[in-house]
């Protein structure tokens, strides 16, 4: 009971600290912008720990963060193997193939107006569908190993990437295109020097959306069958064995991988589209 009381006090303390920070003179500084979410996150973890210990919540319902951390540290080799299988082999290879082929397709769609009129509505339609449902079919075709996961990822990232890139390639204004025309630029010259750079913010938007989709596809596809490794496999079997600390450890890996993947693409975006107003600020 004391621990539960401690949790309530910790909540009040964390809230008070953040209120002070938010209404203080430094409220807009980078330090506060970094500290406030950190304090909030740590408070949540602290409360979680205290509640689980205070109320004796059984492990099969919610393991305490400390238990998860111990499990995480103790099974690094397994987590690494799963990470390589699901993220590097499945998600990353599918991401590269899917985004690259969507990019090429987008150039073709942009070149021929008929394709744009026909394919774009279809692409928009497909982008909203529950594509993870193709996982059982693709597992059947490409086998249990990472190839089928990569295939699911390709299908998942293709259409969002296509729609975004096509929108981006139409971004250059008529005035700018006319200018290129007066320079007697060929199609490819005007493409490489004007329209492709102008499309970059949209391309990166598609790439960023696709990072999350890639991880979702790779993990969910493993629920439909996989070799005896991989994050989705580990999650579903550990749930079956009720070792929830392992499940949470995998989820921590997924969260770290997802954030890092997104962060990496965002960093590349910053370097490539340094000229865009959204990056200048």
């Amino acid at each position: 009971m004391i621990l539960v009381l401690g949790a309530v006090l910790l909540w009040l303390f964390g809230w008070w600290l953040n209120s002070r920070l938010a209404s203080g003179p430094q409220a807009n500084s980078r330090l506060v912008r970094f500290l406030a979410p950190l304090i909030f996150g740590l408070t949540i973890i602290g409360i979680w720990e205290l509640f689980v210990r205070g109320l004796n919540v059984p492990l099969v319902i919610l393991p305490a963060p400390s238990v998860i951390a111990v499990r995480f540290a103790g099974s690094l080799p397994i987590l690494w193997v799963d990470f390589v299988q699901t993220i590097i082999k499945g998600a990353l290879s599918g991401y590269i193939i899917g985004c690259f082929s969507a990019f090429l397709m987008a150039i073709a769609v942009d070149r021929w107006d008929f394709l744009r009129l026909g394919l774009l509505p279809v692409g928009n339609f497909v982008a909203a569908l529950p594509i993870v449902g193709t996982a059982p079919i693709l597992v059947m075709w490409f086998g249990f190993d990472w190839h089928s996961k990569a295939a699911v990822v390709v299908v998942m990232v293709f259409f969002p990437m296509l729609v975004n890139t096509v929108a981006g390639l139409r971004e250059a204004t008529v005035m700018q295109r006319d200018l290129m025309e007066t320079y007697a630029a060929t199609y490819w010259q005007s493409f490489l020097k004007l329209r492709l750079p102008a499309a970059m913010p949209f391309v990166f938007n598609g790439l960023k959306i696709s990072t999350t989709l890639a991880l979702i596809g790779a993990i969910v596809a493993e629920f439909f069958g996989s070799p005896t490794l991989g994050m989705g496999f580990r999650i579903s079997t550990s749930v079956g064995q009720l070792s929830l600390d392992m499940v949470w450890a995998e989820i921590v890996v997924a969260a770290l991988a997802g954030t890092a993947f997104y962060g990496l693409v965002a960093m590349i975006e910053k370097a490539v589209t340094f000229w865009h107003p959204s990056q200048r600020g």
């Binding site: 406030a36 319902i61 569908l129 969260a255």
Partner: protein
């Protein structure tokens, strides 16, 4: 304008036609080995006659050697890739010709999934809007919660789904609630992020105008911020409902649920019933399209009434 519209329809039909043609063409090499094995069992002459020899041959070679088998590749019971008309037939049989109470009716399964989706979507959207209002009005919440809501968009939180199902099951909750919980949290974060953007969309000039009217902050909310946020709300609702549906389908996988589109997918993949998988997939696609389309219609009529339609 009108001819442009007709041209667009032609273009879409052409693309769909090409996809269908490609689909039929692809089913021939995909299914040829299975068909030839069936023919061999039935005592017919196939070339080459032994399955062992056929195993390492390319599918295209087999098609060229056995052109009479092409028809059969579109009519198999358990093809690797069912032809479009097989999927269409299965869809028709399991929706129109079965009673909707039947366990084999796709309408019944769709309803099971849809009800969980809608419940979760309603909860997720409601909480999402509430949190967004809180974030816009409280500097503390903005600083401490908002970064986490944004980070959550980069994390495959759907990985939590199997655990939620099992944990809720172990404390005695099952049926629609666990799936709705998954749907709710998947639609929650997109709505929070979109709605915060929307509630912040009025510019300084408009906010200043309300200040000169000495409007209270709640008046500012109801008369300016909330109406201004509507386009953003609908955009995130469309993302949210698609995510909810995926959540409900994935939520049906781990426990081996007996009803729902996810259960149909899983059962199909266990028993190699490919036609069943494809028809469940199309049912899910149609459901998603209807839900997004419905929201689009609501969006258009609401924005039109508010004078915000373009």
């Amino acid at each position: 304008m009108r001819s442009e519209g007709i041209r667009a329809i032609w273009a879409v039909l052409t693309v769909v036609g090409v996809i269908l043609l490609f689909w039929y063409a692809a089913s021939v090499p995909m299914n040829i080995k299975g068909v030839l094995t069936e023919f061999e069992r039935a005592g017919q002459q196939v070339d080459p006659p032994k399955a062992v020899d056929r195993r390492d041959m390319s599918e295209f070679e087999l098609v060229i050697d056995n052109p009479y088998a092409i028809d059969e590749t579109w009519e198999q019971d358990r093809p690797r890739l069912p032809a479009p008309h097989q999927v269409a037939e299965e869809l028709w049989e399991t929706t129109v010709e079965k009673k909707i109470t039947s366990k084999r009716s796709l309408i019944y399964h769709s309803w099971v999934t849809l009800s969980a989706t809608m419940l979760g979507f309603a909860i997720g959207t409601g909480l999402g809007i509430l949190l967004a209002v809180g974030i816009v009005h409280s500097r503390v919440m903005d600083l401490s919660v908002m970064p986490w809501a944004i980070v959550s968009q980069t994390i495959p939180i759907i990985a939590l789904a199997p655990m939620i199902i099992v944990v809720l099951y172990s404390i005695g909750i099952q049926g629609i609630i666990p799936k709705a919980v998954i749907s709710a949290y998947l639609s929650f974060f997109p709505v929070v992020v979109g709605m915060v953007k929307g509630l912040r969309s009025p510019d300084a000039m408009q906010l200043d105008l309300l200040r000169t009217y000495s409007a209270s902050s709640s008046q500012g909310f109801w008369k300016l911020r909330l109406p201004a946020s509507m386009p953003y709300l609908f955009t995130s609702l469309k993302i949210g409902i698609a995510a909810s549906l995926v959540g409900a389908i994935v939520g049906e996988l781990p426990t081996g649920a007996v009803a729902g589109l996810g259960a149909r997918l899983l059962a199909g993949s266990y028993y190699g019933q490919t036609v069943q998988i494809w028809s469940a997939l199309f049912a899910a696609a149609i459901l998603a399209a209807c839900l997004v389309g419905l929201l689009g219609m609501v969006e258009r009529s609401v924005l039109k009434r508010m004078g915000m339609a373009q």
